[in-house]
Symmetry: C2
Subunit: 629 residues, 2 copies
């Protein structure tokens, strides 16, 4: 017989007692368990948990060092053009993107818990933050970074990480697809060399169409070249995967592929530089405003003065509005999603909130834009063989050096090549296979996807995210109001009864529904039938529901004539929930089928639903006296 | 064997097939079912459902008529002093209370679905509405009535009645206890003859203490007399219940008891009138501003002009604020609670919203304050033997006559006697036995009770209600994030496996928790153990959760060495949910225990967890080839 599962303390339960692994000589779990060291003291475990650098640093070795160095340099070269592009997307001068690309990794090196997350500016965060900073003094951006860091840390301290569990996968996917659509749309105008700024996708598209005649062919040519280059070089990755014989060729292909962003920027930049040696002006737009200097470490200012007006801290807060909550949520979402892809598969969301919060607070002190992990960098860190977060150190140094010495050269990078980088990196986020699958398999999930996508695209990603979370939460609440309850007539030894099997725990929103379903079924039988509620699936019950069950027995009593009040049998109810239910005269608990049968026979006798022969047999069986009318 | 419950169409299932009721000659359900008439056409059923007067009117007879007449007159005499008291509590002249006490019952007579609900002003609604109308022109009150009627109807049309299911019983009880505390506190100052108006219980109590020296002994004496009288006459009800022999005495006691409110008002009024014949002024306060006239039927004005300023409709809306949503909710709550006490026990909340909405809209046209059913009137309608809503007609006529002809006499009623009526009727709502019981039996429900009570008393009943609904909803959501999942090591024929039994449906908020629990258990066994997820309790699964289960199998693969990837068996998963889960190489579905055993043996063989003898035996059993190393 398949053993019945009984509640047991988990700690006790998960202790492995592998009985059968005694015979053949393979290494058994028991063996490997014996190797485990004694548990560390509490403070040490807390330190290891909160400052993960101590977990891997003691075991750090040269081999890891070399791998991390190569990965760090590769990532550094990738993150530089990406940061520049994100800064432009966020409407900021390029240096502020680079600032957040050097401080984030250095903090994450120490506190980061997910190996392959590389903190830095992302197009998603840039897209959201531009709405709160556009047309405002640049200090708004740093304050937004600072305040979202503070919100991150507050959420982490209050252990609010669990709210991220209320974002379902279709919502996350719709959200990232919508972001990709919005960013790609915003970059198309850069590719075309058209400049305007209007809010909303529809406005922007109609503006683009109306201004299409102003398109600059040189920008477009540069953009198309860059996109083609990126896509072609991206294909080398496949070559690397298929190439088994020539190791040098494989490594070469892989490095070309992972550093394609850097290559296109280099090629386009050098081309522009050479052209400018011969001509005064270029036909396409270059990125500008890059000054070469290391960032200063200063606290962000909390009162902003402009020639026109002075913003007090509260005014700034009011202008930044929901931004200071949306940016942290959007940022952390990516980190959690990446964390779930790693072998460990588990993310301590509260710790992650704390770490990203620190990255943003320190970021604000070096004039950085808000930052988080990014899928594009996760892919590159995997491909470039990153071992530990130590790679962040080399990456940070590369970015810092670029910031200090290379900045003037960034002025030679064509904007269209940066737009091409963004478009190519976001193209992978566009996932339209999922909604097709959802449509086939789960209409409700498809509905959530569609709602989130449409609202994100039309009214902004933060509105879409909020609406979708509320709608999915409402559905979960509704499941408590209308749980699965099977109500049917059953027979046991020819004695009929109404069998009621609630699927979930019964909490207060469901009790009226249960009551109505039972009463409706009873009405059909004129309340002359026993009701058996089978509680073996019930995991929880609250006071309101318990009272409702007692009241149900009273209802059965009141509705039937005094002589034959219907009995309510509560069968297999969890023992710890039984005391909540008030006993009434026609309510009984049963834990065995035999007992149910006894009660049913008794009721049948009392109400005369049984013929005389049955009557006598049943009465003798149960030891009752026989009263023949 | 107790038969396994299988899903079946409910309509089909609830059709009664009583097989055994063939023997003895008692009336069987089948017999009474045969008497039922053929189902009415659709339009007729809709009419009967939406206009319940047609349900009982055709069968109306003289006996019912007499009972209803007596009950109607008794209720009319009770509702008059109560309405006056409520109008004073709401800070309105008395006639506006009476206006809503005559129009409500007349509408409810036609559309009302709960027999014993008597619509009229209630202290609860008065207490809430006074916050939105105090210190404002009187037209605000009528507009509040009108707009809450509109909101009622909108909520009913959108079938939003189910939101009332999210108010748990501890919350309702705490809410009504808090209301009672607030009203009693507000009436104590009337008993003492002190006049002030401050918001909040704490302010009010400290003001009362600081002004206690101004107390008027004559008011206090009148109040104490009225309370004592009401309590004493109330005791006659018990006498009536115990008196079995003398029918006349029983009836007399019951009528004295049910009309005690009228009696005290009559006694106190006549006393005041006689006193005023001899003296110029009375030492205690009388109610005032009663003018004798029938109400006009006019639409409420939507622009209010006062000597100081003019309020546009939007300004009024802004001033009334949440009031136009809170008043309908608070009003309907009482009706639903009463409905659950009636024999039918079922309330069509949407229909009730519609009916109360009509009462309020028409009420606003005759200058009435917001109205709803009240527990005090339910008790009296039960005691006075009401049969059908026809009693509402007599009640309405009595109130209308009082409004037209008796109003000048209301000026002789002492305010203290009205305060006494409110205090005595609300005293029964104070239920402090419930929190004691909750504390013993369900700490969480006690917490909800306490939260609701404290917030209601300190920050207002509408804030308390809202906060409590949100907190209880958050708990329900949390139950989806942390469902009951039993994880333990089990053995089947000496082959061990990790048994995972999720208690509820697994939806997206729970999937990470499930994954973490399983991975944690697997880590202890170095991922060399088969995992069996027993899904027999699972009622639902969404796409995110299904993907998570697939991912779990990949996790098991990735974490164990390539040679021995742990198997994930999904046992007894509902068939209609299986297609959602992506199949991976180490994920299998099983519906029988034998199949599970086969998989376990196979795994044991493959991973060498079984000794040689077992190995051979098992292999022969299952027909596998034996490969001895």
């Amino acid at each position: 017989m398949y053993p019945q599962l009984e509640p047991e303390l988990e700690e006790k339960a998960t202790k492995v007692r592998l009985l059968t692994s005694t015979g053949t000589g393979t290494k058994s779990p028991a063996h490997s368990e014996a190797k485990k060291p004694a548990p560390a003291p509490k403070w040490k475990r807390a330190l290891l948990r909160h400052v993960p650098v101590f977990q891997w640093l003691p075991a750090y070795n040269l081999e890891w060092g070399i791998d991390d160095f190569i990965a760090g340099i590769t990532l550094g070269l990738t993150i530089i053009p990406e940061s520049i592009a994100c800064a432009l997307l966020a409407g900021l001068p390029v240096r502020y993107g680079l600032c957040s690309a050097f401080i984030g990794p250095l903090i994450y090196l120490i506190f980061g818990s997910i190996d392959k997350v590389i903190i830095g500016p992302t197009s998603l965060v840039a897209l959201v933050s531009v709405q709160f900073t556009v047309g405002r003094p640049i200090e708004f951006a740093f304050l937004l970074t600072f305040l979202s860091g503070i919100v991150d840390i507050i959420m982490g301290s209050l252990r609010m990480g669990c709210i991220f569990e209320f974002i379902s996968m279709p919502v996350i996917k719709a959200f990232s697809s919508a972001t990709a659509v919005l960013v790609i749309e915003s970059q198309i105008k850069v590719l075309l060399g058209i400049k305007y700024l209007v809010p909303g996708l529809i406005n922007s598209v109609s503006m683009l169409i109306s201004q299409i005649h102003k398109a600059n062919m040189a920008d477009l040519a540069m953009g198309v070249f860059a996109i083609s280059f990126l896509l072609l070089i991206g294909l080398l990755d496949r070559v690397a995967n298929n190439e088994k014989r020539h190791k040098a060729l494989r490594i070469c292909c892989r490095y070309l592929s992972t550093s394609r962003n850097t290559l296109i920027v280099l090629i386009a930049g050098i081309f522009s530089y050479i052209c400018l040696c011969y001509r005064e002006q270029l036909p396409y737009t270059l990125s500008k405003n890059s000054l070469s200097s290391f960032p200063n470490f200063t606290l962000p200012v909390f009162t902003i003065e402009t020639p026109e007006r002075t913003y007090s801290f509260w005014q700034i807060m009011r202008e930044l509005n929901v931004g200071i909550v949306v940016i942290p949520i959007v940022g952390i979402l990516t980190n959690i999603s990446i964390g779930k892809l790693t072998p460990k598969g588990m993310v301590d969301t509260n710790h992650e909130l704390f770490t990203v919060g620190l990255c943003n607070i320190f970021g604000a002190c070096v004039q950085a834009m808000p930052s988080s992990g990014a899928f594009s960098r996760y892919a590159i860190s995997t491909a470039s063989g990153l071992r530990t977060p130590m790679a962040n150190l080399y990456l940070g140094i590369v970015v810092l050096l670029a910031l200090g010495y290379l900045s003037p050269w960034f002025n030679y990078i064509p904007e269209a090549s940066l737009a091409a980088i963004l478009i190519c990196s976001l193209y992978t986020l566009l996932d339209f296979k999922l909604p097709v699958r959802l449509w086939r398999e789960s209409k409700r999930d498809f509905g959530n996807w569609l709602l989130c996508f449409v609202v994100c695209v039309l009214f902004g990603v933060e509105v879409g995210l909020l609406v979708s979370i509320i709608v999915t939460a409402m559905h979960l609440l509704f499941l408590w109001a209308r749980p699965e309850i099977l109500v049917k007539i059953q027979a046991l030894d020819d004695m009929q009864f109404i069998s009621v099997v609630p699927g979930n725990g019964i909490y207060f929103p469901a009790i009226n529904y249960l009551r109505e379903r039972v009463l409706k079924a009873c009405t059909r039988a004129d309340f002359k039938i026993t009701v058996v509620i089978d509680g073996h699936k019930i995991t929880g019950l609250d006071y309101t529901a318990a009272q409702g069950i007692s009241k149900l027995s009273t209802d059965l009593c009141r509705n039937s004539d005094a002589a034959s009040s219907a009995l309510l049998i509560l069968y297999r109810f969890p023992t710890h929930l039984q005391h909540l239910i008030d006993l009434t005269e026609n309510l009984v608990f049963c834990d065995s089928e035999a007992k149910v049968k006894e009660f049913l026979t008794q009721e049948s006798l009392r109400n005369g639903y049984i013929n005389l022969k049955e009557h006598i047999r049943a009465s003798i069986d149960l030891g009752y006296k026989i009263e023949i009318e």
